[in-house]
């Protein structure tokens, strides 16, 4: 128990147990303190473990399961990937716990909430630190369960409960694939230890590796909301906002990417699987970014944005750039958690207003939130110098550097997506923070507790400065993260060669995206002045502001809007949703049909018995080899 690695996992678990069992009779302050302190302690332990990681260590807690050559000891494995993840997960979780203290200040179910949140952190850390697949599967299911509980946290609202169920069912489909892959890998390699499987991977036949890669990809797609299993994530926004920030932006949804990174040696045996993975990532990124354009609900914009950004990570894995994937994963966790939390501030301040078209002018009224949101938006848009710039750049450079027509095309798609990304997020910035309040009936922003607003600041700093963990040589850095991964043999050596050229393209794309978004809104004051001169009347001025929105729609958004509408409504909500519902309904219907055989009359049961007996006898008579 001396090892800090153990404490990383144990502290949140103890916190969850404490709050879950005793929380109902304790004061709110005690519950909050225990929840935050346990995650803070875990975070400290993670940092200590990271510092003392050396070349990667295993901690065997005890022999959990062992069966006929099959063993799944309770092993925690700390290496560059898992340690980085652990530090990120605990750090972001701690900040979000603090934020939750403010966010949940009026909710009665605080003990259940914090217990579930702590349990989630523990399960996520188990997933990350697990040294073998069954243990990872435990964490995998654990985060799914907590997510289910937290999405449906306000269970009295049926929509929330439905969303929770939907998330649960859809991710379950991915879990089938993961489960099958797990059993198959054990069947092939005779072990469940991740390192041992990876060591045995090169001996796998390519065709087998292709199927395994696709199964793992499908499993990852369920958890990480990649095509075709994207549908649950936007609906999952029904849960409390800190939950969206923690689970549906920073941590759980990246579990799929993490799985692919862990099992990369298996996947990389098959170039077909890699190509499929890259394609899925790139297409998902594009699809989700365009879908984000069509949204009005600020949280749904961010949800699609998350899907899109995870698409980039998957793309990086497909291109073989693990360090780029991990880099983008970490930076994305910072800025997306930040954006969600800022959105939560806005939503609470505006009395549960979600529609960005009803917001506006919050820059002066909520300056701290504005600056933090701006930092997050810049990082998301990959403005040069921010963390998002370096990480996304590495992903794109690696894709381009992979060579081949497919990868070049996907790189181009990635650049287009980057443009759309910059555009949609600055559309949000413009609509929410610039201009005037669109709907005065919403009233003045309410005052928010300090824990909510100030917990944004550290994440804002990380979002902007996050690039230093893997600064490329062109910026005077040494690629710390890439070097770390390479030194432990977890990834091919640092992708050296993305020079200024790719960076310049990315910068131009980002700038034009932001520019385009701003053009629509920077023109706004000028137009406003002209209009104000013509109609010196506030109402008219507001009306014109709306008219401008229409223009802005016609000029720019409509083409994208149509695509977004097509993709979002037709594909996402239509076909895929219907297919998923269809599977569920089909199974239920089959079950109901089967139950018709239970007629309630014992004579039917006797008949079934006799028919069954006759069938067995007949089978033996024909095939018994008599």
């Amino acid at each position: 128990m001396a090892s800090p690695i153990t404490w990383i996992l144990l502290l949140p678990l103890l916190g969850a147990l404490f709050n879950g069992l005793l929380g109902w009779m304790l004061k709110r302050r005690v519950v909050e303190t225990v929840a935050c302190a346990s995650v803070a302690g875990s975070s400290v332990a993670a940092c200590i473990a990271f510092a003392g990681m050396g070349n990667g260590t295993d901690v065997v807690l005890y022999d959990w399961l062992s069966a006929g050559g099959f063993s799944a000891p309770f092993t925690l494995r700390l290496d560059a990937i898992s340690a980085t993840m652990a530090v990120m997960v605990t750090g972001v979780s701690f900040i979000i716990h603090l934020y939750s203290v403010g966010y949940m200040r009026e909710d009665e179910g605080f003990a259940r909430y914090f217990a579930l949140l702590n349990l989630f952190v523990a399960a996520m850390l188990l997933l990350v630190l697990a040294g073998n697949l069954p243990l990872m599967f435990v964490g995998w299911e654990g985060v799914g369960f907590c997510s289910f509980g937290l999405i449906g946290f306000w269970y009295s609202d049926p929509a929330n409960a439905t969303a929770g169920r939907k998330a649960f069912i859809v991710t379950r489909i991915g879990d089938v694939a993961f489960g099958v892959a797990l059993i198959w890998l054990f069947y092939l390699t005779g072990t469940t230890d991740i390192a041992a499987i990876n060591a045995a991977a090169p001996a796998l036949p390519a065709a087998t590796a292709t199927y395994l890669g696709l199964l793992l990809m499908f499993g990852a797609a369920g958890k990480s909301a990649q095509l075709p299993l994207t549908v649950w994530l936007p609906d999952a926004m029904a849960g409390p906002t800190p939950v969206s920030a923690l689970i549906h932006a920073a941590t759980m949804v990246t579990a799929g990417v993490y799985l692919l990174m862990r099992m990369f040696p298996v996947i990389s045996v098959s170039s077909d699987a890699l190509a499929v993975i890259t394609t899925v990532g790139a297409v998902t990124a594009f699809y989700a970014a365009t879908s984000a354009l069509g949204q009005r609900d600020i949280k749904r914009v961010l949800a699609y944005s998350t899907i899109s950004q995870i698409g980039y990570m998957v793309m990086a894995v497909g291109a073989g750039a693990l360090s780029a994937a991990l880099f983008h994963l970490v930076v994305h966790a910072f800025f997306k958690a930040l954006l969600f939390m800022a959105a939560g501030c806005i939503i609470q301040a505006l009395h549960e207003e979600h529609d960005i078209f009803n917001m506006g002018g919050l820059m002066t009224r909520m300056p701290t939130v504005f600056w933090c949101f701006l930092a997050g938006a810049l990082a998301l848009a990959a403005a040069p110098g921010t963390g998002g710039f370096f990480s996304k750049d590495e992903v794109l450079a690696a894709t381009l550097g992979h060579g081949g027509a497919l990868y070049t095309a996907l790189w181009a798609l990635g650049e287009v997506t980057a443009f759309v990304t910059a555009f949609y997020i600055f559309r949000v910035v413009a609509l929410v923070f610039m201009g005037g309040m669109k709907k005065e009936s919403a009233g003045l922003p309410a005052r928010l507790p300090g824990t909510m607003v100030w917990s944004l600041v550290p994440l804002a700093v990380l979002a902007i400065a996050g690039g230093i963990i893997n600064l490329p040589a062109t910026w005077g850095g040494s690629g710390y993260l890439s070097g770390l991964l390479a030194s432990q043999g977890l990834a091919p050596h640092a992708e050296a060669g993305h020079g200024w050229a790719v960076q310049a393209v990315s910068a131009v794309v980002c700038a034009s995206g932001i520019g385009a978004a701003y053009y629509m809104n920077l023109i706004n004051p000028a137009l406003r002045e002209r209009l104000a001169a013509r109609y010196a009347d506030l109402n008219d001025f507001l009306f014109r502001a709306w008219g401008l929105d229409a223009l802005y729609y016609r000029l720019f958004v409509t083409p994208f809007g149509n695509i977004a509408d097509l993709l979002w409504h037709r594909v996402d909500e239509g076909a895929i949703n219907r297919a998923l519902d269809g599977i569920g309904d089909g199974l239920a219907w089959t079950g109901s049909m089967m139950r018709l055989s239970v007629t309630g009359r014992a004579s039917t049961y006797i008949m079934a018995t006799i028919v069954g007996a006759a069938a067995i006898v007949l089978y033996f008579a024909v095939n018994g080899g008599v």
Binding site: D63, W64, L65, S66, A67, G68, G69, F70, P134, F137, V138, E141, G142, F145, F148, G149, G152, Y155, S156, A161, G164, R165, F168, R172, D175, V176, G179, V180, I183, W184, F186, Y187, L587, A588, T590, G591, S592, M594, R595, S597, V598, G600, A602, T604, Y605, I606, A608, T609, I610, G612, A613, A615, I616, V617, Y619, F620, N623, G624, G625, V626
Partner: protein, 488 residues
């Protein structure tokens, strides 16, 4: 039979003589109320379990009929502990329902006696007698709720279908005997395949045996009785029927399988199809079932499909995975029925799943136990159900039944939906109308101490084995013959 054999049969003697004395005591000693009689019955069961667990007899077989070695002791222990838990879970239930006074605990003990004989049988005769002792007691117990007509209907349905299947079983045993001339379990099974393959008579005998066994453990297509019987029977009795009685049949089935040595031969495809259909049928049928007891019936059918999958693998990889699954299944399914019993009022058993809505906050203990049992039945970590499912899937893959394992995994994941429906109703849905849960909650019976003890034991076992399964794996691995595959 000599004295050391009599010693060796001590757990069985306790289980057999105890209920006779209990019947006499109920008839002749005044002032023994239902509760006391139940406690005496529980004490007898506990004593038998303790003796079976701790007393290592000098001989490993008695009279050429009953094993008294580790396997037989395990069967006796399982019988005792199942009877104990059933009686503990019935104390409150029988105080609300006219299940009989001393008859009820004695019948449970008689059934447990049958379980122990059946599970530890080393002869086809003791298989038959144990099974019949168990089944006759179940007929009566199922119909024993005299205030409830559905209970009588459950009893007659079980009896009529059961009698038919018993006749098949008897005929099957007769054919096996004709084919081999040996009534000892090991000898007859070896004799069947002595020439390398089944002879026609032996094969016909096995076909008949499969019908009889298939009925008792509700395998497709002999499972149709289960939903009706589960719904109508008294909840604790159904819990026993679903766990103890099935477990004992499986114990005997496993002995038959292992005695054949190495291979299922011509039987394998039939068992394969039965396992697959049972898993698919049970899990899909449960998806849209609304009555809690019927839901548990379909769930139980599905679970038996998993056990059959493990049994199919047993000749290759050993029976440990299956035995673990059985032990865990007994705990979690009995727990679920215990909660149903504890939620059952004077007039009716727990019915529609919607009636669970919001109970999680009104009755935290029972709801928590229910949730733990459901999560475990669904095979989710960190419960024992996960370990158990993992073991059987792994065993199936190892024995080469990869497609069956895939069907199993897929249906297991489908099953999560209906198991968690129960949890969702308990915790995540508000009561149908405001205030209804509050009043409904007060109408539900209070939890008594016997229930609390049983629930504590069951929950602790499920959670402990989920986190630290090593001890049980070692124990059962040792009983099943040491190095038979589950633990190297």
């Amino acid at each position: 039979m000599n004295l050391s054999e009599l010693h060796a049969l001590l757990p069985l003697l306790i289980l057999g003589v105890g209920p006779v004395l209990l019947l006499l005591a109920g008839a002749f000693i005044p002032g023994l109320d239902r509760k006391r009689l139940n406690f005496i019955g529980g004490a007898v069961a506990l004593l038998a379990a303790v003796v079976a667990a701790t007393y290592s007899p000098p001989v490993t077989e008695a009279g050429g009929m009953l094993g008294t070695g580790p396997y037989g002791r395990m069967a006796a222990f399982l019988a005792g502990i199942t009877a104990l838990l059933t009686i503990l879970l019935s104390v409150g239930y029988t105080s609300r329902r006219p299940l009989g006074d001393e008859e009820y605990p004695s019948l449970v003990l008689f059934a447990a006696f049958g379980m122990a004989v059946l599970g530890g049988a080393t002869s086809l005769l003791s298989v038959f007698l144990g099974l019949e002792c168990l089944t006759l007691a179940m007929y009566i117990l199922l119909a024993s709720n005299r205030g409830d007509f559905l209970s009588g209907e459950a009893g007659i349905k079980y009896l009529v279908v059961g009698a038919v299947s018993t006749a098949f079983l008897a005929f099957g045993l007769a054919l096996v005997y004709v084919a081999t001339g040996d009534l000892s379990l090991a000898g007859s099974m070896k004799g069947l395949t002595a020439s390398g393959a089944f002879g026609p008579v032996g094969l016909a005998g096995w076909a008949m045996l499969l019908v009889g066994i298939g009925f008792k453990v509700s395998l497709f297509p002999f499972h149709l009785w289960a939903p009706d019987v589960y719904q109508g029977g008294p909840a604790p009795v159904v819990g026993f029927l679903s766990t103890g009685s099935k477990a004992a049949v499986w114990l005997a089935f496993l002995q038959l399988a292992l005695a054949m040595g190495g291979d299922w031969g011509a039987l394998a495809p039939v068992l394969w199809v039965m396992a697959a259909l049972t898993m698919v049928y049970g899990n899909l049928a449960a998806l849209t079932t609304n009555n809690v007891k019927r839901l548990l019936a379909y769930s139980s059918i599905a679970q038996m499909g998993y056990v059959l999958m493990a049994l199919l693998a047993a000749p290759v990889v050993g029976g440990t995975a299956m035995l673990i699954y059985l032990a865990v299944y007994v705990a979690m399914d009995l727990g679920a029925f215990g909660v149903v019993a504890a939620f059952s009022t004077r007039d009716r058993d727990l019915g529609d799943i919607e009636s669970l809505r919001g109970l999680g906050y009104v009755h935290p203990v029972r709801s928590a136990v229910f949730a733990v049992c459901m999560v475990s039945l669904a095979g989710l970590p960190p419960t024992a159900g996960f370990i158990a499912k993992f073991g059987i899937f792994q065993a199936a893959v190892k024995a080469g039944y990869v497609y069956l394992a895939v069907i199993g995994i897929a249906t297991a994941i489908v099953s999560i939906y209906y198991y968690l429906r129960v949890v969702v109703n308990l915790y995540m849905r508000s009561p149908l109308e405001k205030g209804v849960a509050a009043t409904a909650g007060t109408l539900l019976p209070r939890l008594d101490d016997a229930n609390r003890i049983a629930f504590a034991l069951i929950t602790a076992a499920i959670l402990y084995l989920g986190v630290m399964p090593g001890g049980l794996l070692d124990l059962i691995g040792g009983i099943a013959g040491g190095n038979d595959g589950f633990r190297c």
